[in-house]
């Protein structure tokens, strides 16, 4: 699995550092950019790390109605996301060669959603229930878009292993700038919804009846909350990473670039998309709940374009 040479050790090191640091920093960047848009100086970029450390030291309060699901869900979710970080090709420097099958990835994400939803229902609060109900509704609308974007990439490459699809070596995909770009757009729009970001959900409000993710984690506190937050941070990086990889693959220069450039640009890509999110959130408003299917329709339309391109290119 891991050949012990300096290059792969370096890769592994870079990967571990980025999977630890990038999630909170990405969120820090989003918050900082939003603060600057509002003419505030804003908290330092490392503030999410400090928040998590602070949460770790607090004492935990849970509802008396919860079952074993509630606390184990957060441990399971973060482990699923850590596993996923090794499976999803969100960077170009991947240390282990586990085949990241796209259906497996989608269903692992669904597994983490399943636990999140159940944990939200566990305390029996109205907020948790609302959040859970909305989360599954959004997931239902977004899921076909995500899977079709990835499937059309995989279908063009002739494999469902995403590690091979996103390896800059698949000649069948090299000339498909349009496909990569549209897939990137589709995945980005879908991840805005999946990550409960702005047009779908407002991550900064609390106790508002229209929210999704924040409503679900209302009962979590202290370490439990810290785990949930970290899970969410990792999810942000992974989903943004995969759409930024799509955009990077659309650039012909990247196919010639060296490993180092690719690695640096893939980190930069995640931060760039994070900044885009911050800009979108500063300039737009949250959509009404009933309008959301129309927004998601854009992502679905992108995925259908991807499918059409994939079908036309493989014409026999």
């Amino acid at each position: 699995m891991i050949a012990i040479d300096s290059a792969s050790m370096l890769k592994l090191g870079a990967f571990l550092v980025s999977i630890t640091l990038m999630p909170p920093l990405t969120v820090g960047i989003i918050r900082k950019v939003k603060a600057r848009f509002q003419n505030r100086i804003g908290a330092p970029i490392i503030q999410p790390i400090l928040d998590i450390i602070k949460l770790m030291h607090k004492s935990e309060t849970i509802s008396k109605h919860v079952s074993w699901i509630f606390r184990s869900a957060s441990a399971i979710n973060i482990s699923v996301l850590i596993l996923l970080s090794f499976l999803i090709p969100w960077t170009t420097f991947h240390p282990l060669n586990i085949p990241g099958d796209l259906f497996f990835i989608i269903y692992l994400l669904a597994l983490s959603r399943f636990f999140t939803v159940l944990a939200a229902l566990d305390a029996g609060s109205a907020f948790g229930g609302f959040g859970a109900s909305r989360e599954v509704t959004l997931a239902l609308l977004v899921e076909p878009a995500v899977i079709l974007c990835l499937v059309s990439l995989g279908s063009t490459a002739g494999t469902s292993n995403l590690t091979e699809v996103f390896a800059f070596n698949n000649l069948a995909l090299k000339t498909h700038t349009g496909l990569w770009f549209i897939a990137g757009c589709g995945l980005f729009l879908a991840s805005l919804v999946e990550l409960s970001r702005m047009p779908a959900d407002d991550p900064t409000t609390h106790l508002e009846l229209t929210m999704v993710h924040e409503a679900m984690i209302l009962e979590n506190s202290a370490t439990n909350l810290a785990l949930v937050e970290m899970t969410h941070f990792i999810k942000i990086v992974l989903l943004l990473g995969i759409s930024s990889q799509c955009f990077l693959h659309a650039i012909p220069y990247m196919w010639r670039a060296s490993d180092l450039t690719r690695g640096l640009l893939s980190v930069a890509g995640v931060f760039a998309l994070a900044t885009t999110i911050a800009v979108i959130e500063s300039l737009s408003v949250k959509l009404r709940w009933t309008k959301l299917p129309e927004f998601i329709a854009y992502a679905v339309a992108m995925s259908i374009f991807c499918v059409l391109i994939a079908l036309s290119r493989n014409m026999h």
């Binding site: 509802s63 269903y107 609060s125 859970a132 599954v136 469902s160 370490t223 994939a310």
Partner: protein, 668 residues
């Protein structure tokens, strides 16, 4: 290898004899005063089940066929049995489900008042088992029809076992109607095939020529009715909901699989390449999967929810069968291998986790005396074992890794994925993409559906006093019912984590159905077991190291109530409100309507009474079937006018008929 041949035959015969013995015992108990204990019957069921498992495993290991005749002269054809590699997985599934339901049966029968009720239940169960088993191993059409009928009628009997209730009567009637139509179609198709091939033997039938198309279509429609595919699924929720708990596990786990078996045995093995059958199977399968899960999601009764979800899964299996036929048609052995493995694995898996969930529902019903989700809640602490079993079952049916459901669904996905870039016409590749999109949609819907079922029934606070007082029995220890669920749950997880090993066992079936000698274990490359182990270690170490130190100092407090003071359980999310956002999106299909009435002097600011009512009328039942039924009863009423009761008019009818027949004779 005569001795092995002998062994499989002996074991299969022994299983049948054991069940027949049980049936005879119930008869003896009926006529004499002997009171037989529930445990004895359950033991007999289990013994038969375990014998069947042994036979199937033996058959797997040695790849032996057996065939013999019970009655050499049974009307048109000998009543002969035959077992080959295809029956293996089905018999194995049957053995496992029978054994586990046998554990659960006493929990139901101990609640029955009289000896006769108890005997009737077991009598029907034994008949059902015999009928199902012999349907799987019957070698020709006549034997199959006889056994199939025994199975259908005993199922109808089980559904009607609580016949005092009006709902059970209706359910039994609709079940009988559906199975009558299915049998009629199958009989017609079988006669047609006999006419063409000159034999009633299944082995002699091939569906390659176009002359067999009507027969193939009729078989497909019969199978679709029996499996509960859209639009003939309407009887399924009624009948599954009314049958007694352990019997439902058998019916949903086994009886629906007989039709899948027939489809594989005749249509797939008979090399049917007709595009009509292929695309009909694909279309009905897809519609059933979407329709089934959508209705499951908005359902309020937990057993009906599971029944609708059966419609979904039968649809998925049919989609897989369509892929198998399509890829065989285009000569793509690789995809055919994936599809066939996926279909058989999913059939077995669905049998397992659906029985598991049905037993869970039975357990809930027994403990709370209700199946309404709106009356449940907070059962996780009252019924921990049921919760665990239902949770695993829910994960498996939503195809969550690392359960078995994921492995089989992955194969169906993978089959269509490979079809999307195979050397086939563009239309089929586009269809493949569309199927993948719809499967993703169905997957997300079923996640919502089971998150609702588990979340509303087991989590949160109790919504009724019955749920508050729910008791699994045996004060926290395992009862037969909970033990059965745990066994099935463990099997689901083992089949999932060692999916490739299990698929390796399917290689003779695969070779038999597709003629390819690919090793099915190589078809599923995801190291699910290893990843699951890593994930488990990771999760438990995080739990112990990060969450663990806080466990001692945890404060428990009320659920956040915005400072209003303790909220009652009515403030919780209910099942209907959970599924309402999705219901709104599909309001046209579900016929969902919400009426809000606000009363009071100043309605806007000081409402005195707010009443919200959601109404949902299933489209097919109200629009299509209700109108057909109305038409039939109107026709019947109109026709009664012909029967005036006057002898003269009837003599006129006789005369007119004679005249008509004479004319017919002259013209022909």
């Amino acid at each position: 290898m005569n001795s092995i041949h002998f062994t499989v035959t002996t074991l299969y015969t022994a299983a049948c004899l054991v069940w027949a013995f049980g049936f005879v015992i119930t008869l003896i108990s009926d006529v004499t005063k002997i009171q037989i204990k529930d445990k004895f019957f359950s033991f007999i069921m289990m013994a038969g089940g375990i014998t069947a498992i042994a036979g199937a495993v033996k058959g797997f290991c040695y790849k032996e066929l057996f065939g013999y005749q019970i009655f050499p002269n049974f009307g048109l054809a000998p009543l002969s049995c035959q077992s080959d590699t295809l029956t293996g997985p089905f018999i194995l599934l049957m053995g496992v489900i029978t054994t586990t339901s046998a554990l659960a049966c006493p929990s139901y029968t101990s609640g029955l008042a009289t000896k006769n009720e108890r005997n009737l239940f077991y009598k029907l169960i034994f008949l059902l088992l015999l009928g199902t088993f012999l349907s799987f191993v019957s070698a020709n059409a006549i034997a199959f029809l006889v056994c199939f009928e025994v199975m259908s009628l005993s199922t109808a009997g089980l559904i009607a076992s609580d016949h005092i209730r009006h709902r059970a009567q209706r359910a039994a009637f609709s079940y009988i109607t559906a199975s009558r139509v299915a049998t009629a179609l199958l009989t017609a198709a079988f006669l047609w095939m006999q006419h063409i091939s000159g034999s009633f033997n299944f082995d002699a039938w091939h569906f390659e020529s176009s002359r067999t198309l009507p027969a193939a279509l009729m078989i497909f429609i019969g199978v679709a009715i029996k499996a509960g595919l859209w639009p003939t699924h309407v009887y399924l929720p009624q009948s599954y909901a009314e049958a007694p708990g352990p019997a439902t596990a058998l019916i949903s786990g086994l009886v629906s699989k007989v039709s899948i078996y027939l489809m594989l045995r005749l249509i797939v093995l008979g090399d049917c390449h007709s595009p009509y059958v292929i695309y009909a199977a694909l279309a009905l399968g897809l519609i059933s999967s979407v329709w089934g899960v959508l209705f499951a999601l908005v359902e309020r009764d937990i057993k009906r929810l599971l029944a609708y979800s059966s419609v979904e899964n039968m649809g998925l299996i049919m989609v897989g069968i369509a892929l198998a036929m399509l890829s065989k048609h285009y000569g793509l052995p690789g995809i055919a291998a994936i599809a066939v493995t996926g279909v058989i694995f999913h059939t077995v898996n669905h049998g397992l986790f659906k029985s598991l969930l049905m037993l869970g529902a039975a357990s809930i019903e027994k403990a709370t005396h209700t199946r309404e989700l709106s009356q449940l809640g907070g059962l996780a602490r009252r019924m921990p074992w049921t919760m665990l079993g239902f949770f695993v079952g829910g994960m498996a049916i939503c195809a969550m890794p690392p359960t078995n459901g994921f492995a089989s669904k992955w194969l169906i996905y993978q089959g269509y994925f490979q079809l999307s870039f195979a050397q086939v016409p563009l239309v089929d590749r586009a269809i493949a993409m569309a199927v993948i999109g719809s499967l993703a949609f169905v997957g997300a819907l079923s996640l919502a559906c089971y998150a609702k079922a588990i979340g509303i029934a087991f989590l949160g606070r109790a919504r009724s006093t019955a749920a508050k007082a729910a008791d699994e029995g045996a004060s926290g220890k395992l009862t037969g019912l909970t033990l059965a669920q745990l066994i099935l749950a463990v099997i689901c997880i083992i089949l999932g984590t060692s999916a490739s090993v299990c698929m390796h066992g399917l290689s003779p079936v695969l070779a038999y159905l597709t003629g390819s000698y690919a090793d099915p274990s190589s078809l599923f490359p995801i190291p699910q077991g290893q990843l699951c182990l890593v994930g488990l270690i990771l999760a438990s170490s995080i739990y112990i190291l990060v969450l663990g130190p806080k466990t001692q100092s945890i404060n428990t407090y009320i659920t956040w109530d915005c400072g209003y003071g303790p909220l009652s359980a009515r403030a919780e999310e209910t099942g209907s409100s959970f599924s309402h956002p999705i219901g709104r999106i599909f309001a046209q299909i579900l016929q969902l309507d919400m009426v809000t009435t606000i009363d009071g002097k100043d309605r806007r600011h000081f409402p005195e009474q707010i009443r919200v009512e959601t109404k949902m009328s299933p489209y097919l039942e109200t629009r299509a079937y209700r109108r057909t039924l109305d038409l039939i009863s109107w026709l019947s009423l109109t026709m009664t006018r012909l029967q005036t009761g006057s002898i003269h008019v009837h003599l006129l009818y006789v005369f007119l008929t004679m005249l008509f027949l004479v004319l017919l004779g002259i013209t022909l």
